[in-house]
């Protein structure tokens, strides 16, 4: 695929004996927003560091616009904009000063520089505080300034590494809106997150990564379709431990049920026919002496996809 903006092939990264990224391949086309979804420690940041040319891959290649990216390929890096997970800004300088410095490093000069800085300040909504030191910003404002610096030189590929971690809901919304606006500019975006809703809302295509491996990839619809026409049904159930265990076994025997995920008080089931399964579950419960306190039927989503692929929840408890 010659017109891919980013093309990762068989990326591998080892840290001593630990394999953090294990044969990841994906591509992003022009103007596409690609989400890398996975729990903490799945290998998202390591993958991104290789894509941004900060880390030497142990194996595989990264090409951006046909040029290979390594820590030494300085020219090609001009096409990339990185928004690191940390607030990588000079706290003793203002947002404008930070933007000017990083933009100049990218080769922006003169009126183009000034225009571009004003543009990105507008996009992230910091125009009125641009002259203040980063030190004086709230957490959300710092995040937005962080993003502004990453996109000031109009990169062909913008990489955002968990830009909403630890941000209050209001700022988070502002950030998501900024990123959403980018898709209209034709920028290709690589977005990592462990928030399923963000990936669903922003991304054209999503790659699911777990334990260093890319285990599924596609549009949201494609991924959900992998589950078939299944629905997730969550039962809250109570009763003797043995009884509940037996009841869960019963559930897996029901028609159209594909997975049964035990929960602390009950179980989550993916199935084809929800109504039939719910009825079967109730009658099984009655036989076992298990009380069903509630039923929750949800349309299939990425959470369910992740669950069905890895057998574990995307967010452990958080």
């Amino acid at each position: 695929m010659a017109d891919l903006v980013l093309d990762c092939r068989d990326l591998v990264r080892r840290f001593d004996s630990l394999v953090a990224v294990d044969g990841v391949s994906f591509g992003i086309g022009p103007g596409e927003t690609y989400g890398l979804l996975g729990p903490n420690g799945a290998g998202k940041t390591t993958t991104i560091s290789m894509v941004a040319g900060l880390l030497e891959p142990s194996g595989g290649t990264v090409t951006v616009l046909g040029q290979e990216i390594t820590p030494r390929s300085t020219t090609a890096k001009g096409a990339i904009g990185l928004v690191p997970q940390d607030i990588a800004l000079y706290p003793d300088l203002s947002a404008r000063e930070n933007l000017t410095f990083f933009a100049k490093l990218q080769g922006l000069r003169g009126s183009e520089l000034a225009t571009r800085i004003d543009e990105v300040l507008d996009i992230v909504g910091l125009a009125d505080r641009a002259g203040d030191k980063i030190d004086t910003y709230s957490g959300g404002m710092k995040r937005r300034a962080n993003i502004a610096v990453g996109m000031v030189h109009q990169p062909t590929l913008l990489i955002l590494d968990e830009p909403t971690v630890g941000v209050d809901p209001q700022s988070r919304n502002a950030i998501l809106e900024s990123v959403d606006a980018l898709s209209t500019t034709g920028m290709a975006v690589l977005y990592t997150t462990h928030y399923m809703e963000e990936a669903e809302r922003l991304c054209d295509r999503i790659g699911i990564i777990d334990s260093g491996k890319l285990i599924a990839e596609g549009t949201r619809e494609e991924l959900v379709a992998r589950l078939g026409d299944s629905t997730a049904v969550t039962f809250r159930a109570d009763g003797p431990v043995e009884a509940v265990r037996g009841w869960r076994d019963d559930l897996s025997q029901l028609r159209t049920v594909s997975t049964v995920q035990p929960q602390e008080y009950g179980a989550t089931v993916t199935c084809g026919h929800a109504s039939e399964v719910v009825a079967g579950a109730f009658s099984a419960a009655e036989k076992r002496g298990v009380t069903i306190g509630g039923v929750d039927v949800t349309a299939p989503d990425l959470e369910a996809v992740f669950l069905s692929l890895t057998g574990k929840a995307l967010r452990d408890g958080s």
Binding site: T70, G78, A79, L89, Q154, P155
Partner: protein
């Protein structure tokens, strides 16, 4: 820099079409670094104010022409002859007219016995006494053994030594008169050539075979021109140690990673930091030079030579600071290495103690600031010109280049993942 072909850009992407050359990136990084450092007022204190203030203290301390003796030597005359009177008169004539500049002042006091002479020293009226005993001139003019006595204080051995030299001189001179006369008489007797007494007196008063001519060195040297650059270099090294800390801080804060994620090679980052430190150092040294020159009238010597030494030594100190940056693994280590390095350089380089001899005078040849101090002294006290100090400049630069190269390599290695 890999890839000579320009990157194919997606049509939608405008903005930067090419990355700037490495040098201009390095300068950008240098400018930002300087900008941020100069906002920190403690840097201004250490780099600009402290060396000048300390130099002023030193200038004040040594403004009174330090090192001059300030002593009174009394000629205690118990002989009381025409000759002994003439000896005293001749010495008091050498007294400097203005009493303020110190030096040795001679006085004549008639005494009766050695105890009276000692009493002059005891009472503080004299720092040393040259006692001419009764019968001294009579004995000397007959070629008999004769002795002068010098009485001095144990606490001022130099003054006692000077008095002794003066007494030696009196002895030698009077003895020479006798020997000259006696020789002339004997030769006259042997050869039968008549001896004319007027001619003899003239011969005795003629100049000696060995004449001591007196020459005064013009001296524009001011001790400030030694201490000011010495202190400036030490504070410079101290401040440059903060480079190490700033790189480590940027690494921790992620700004360094951000810069490296752009089209900026690691070399440009290191070079930029080095340039910033170099400019800061240069500004510091030049400020100290100009302020001491114009505000305090200190003469550092050949300006071209001074500038050459400054350019070289700032490069050397920059190089050393890069080694610290390359070796330090955390901010605490950086701080430690800087403090220890600063103190060692100060002591070994002769900033605090600059002696003509002893182990310290050997050690300083191996430090860049010591070499620079020697060059500054050659220029100011030695009135050398810029060509004369080129060998020293070469040594200093060599230290800078070697340490800088070691530093750059180790920093680059540290920046690579």
């Amino acid at each position: 820099m890999t890839g000579s072909a320009p990157p194919k850009l997606h049509p939608a992407a405008g903005g930067a079409t090419h990355s700037p050359p490495m040098l201009s990136q390095a300068l950008l990084i240098a400018r930002l670094d300087l900008h941020r450092r100069l906002r920190d007022r403690s840097i201004l204190l250490q780099v600009f104010l402290a060396p000048i203030l300390l130099a002023v203290i030193v200038g004040g301390a040594f403004s009174g022409g330090g090192g001059n003796l300030d002593a009174t030597i009394v000629i205690a005359d118990a002989d009381r002859t025409a000759v002994s009177g003439a000896v005293g008169a001749a010495l008091t004539q050498t007294n400097t007219t203005d009493g303020e500049s110190g030096g040795v002042t001679f006085e004549t006091v008639p005494v009766a016995n050695p105890d009276e002479a000692s009493a002059l020293v005891d009472s503080g009226a004299a720092d040393a006494v040259i006692y001419i005993p009764a019968g001294y001139t009579a004995a000397v003019s007959e070629g008999e053994p004769a002795a002068l006595t010098v009485v001095g204080k144990a606490t001022s051995p130099i003054v006692t030594g000077v008095a002794r030299s003066v007494a030696d001189g009196i002895n030698t001179r009077l003895r020479a008169q006798y020997i000259g006369t006696e020789t002339a008489v004997r030769v006259s007797e042997q050869t039968g050539i008549p001896l004319d007494s007027a001619q003899l007196t003239e011969a005795l008063n003629a100049e000696d075979v060995v004449v001591v001519a007196d020459s005064r060195l013009t001296n524009t040297f001011n001790i400030m021109s030694f201490f000011a650059p010495g202190m400036a270099m030490i504070f410079l090294f101290f401040v440059m140690g903060t480079t190490a800390r700033s790189v480590l801080t940027e690494q921790r804060d992620g700004t360094l990673g951000r810069v490296l994620a752009g089209p900026t090679p690691a070399t440009a980052v290191v070079l930029g930091k080095a340039v910033a430190v170099y400019v800061l150092g240069l500004a510091s040294m030049l400020t100290v030079y100009l302020v001491t020159t114009f505000a305090f009238g200190v003469d550092w010597g050949d300006p071209l030579g001074v500038v050459l030494v400054i350019l070289a030594v700032v490069a050397a100190i920059t190089g050393l600071s890069l080694i610290v940056t390359g070796l330090a693994r955390n901010e605490e280590q950086a701080q430690s290495m800087t403090i220890i390095g600063t103190l060692l350089l100060a002591v070994l380089g002769g900033t605090f103690v600059y002696s003509a001899s002893g182990p310290l005078s050997q050690a300083r040849a191996f430090t860049p600031n010591g070499q620079a101090l020697m060059a500054f002294i050659d220029l100011s006290a030695g009135q050398a010109n810029w060509q004369d100090i080129l060998p020293r400049v070469g040594i200093i630069l060599a230290i800078g280049v070697v340490s800088g190269a070691i530093g750059l390599i180790s920093i680059r290695r540290g920046l690579q993942p």
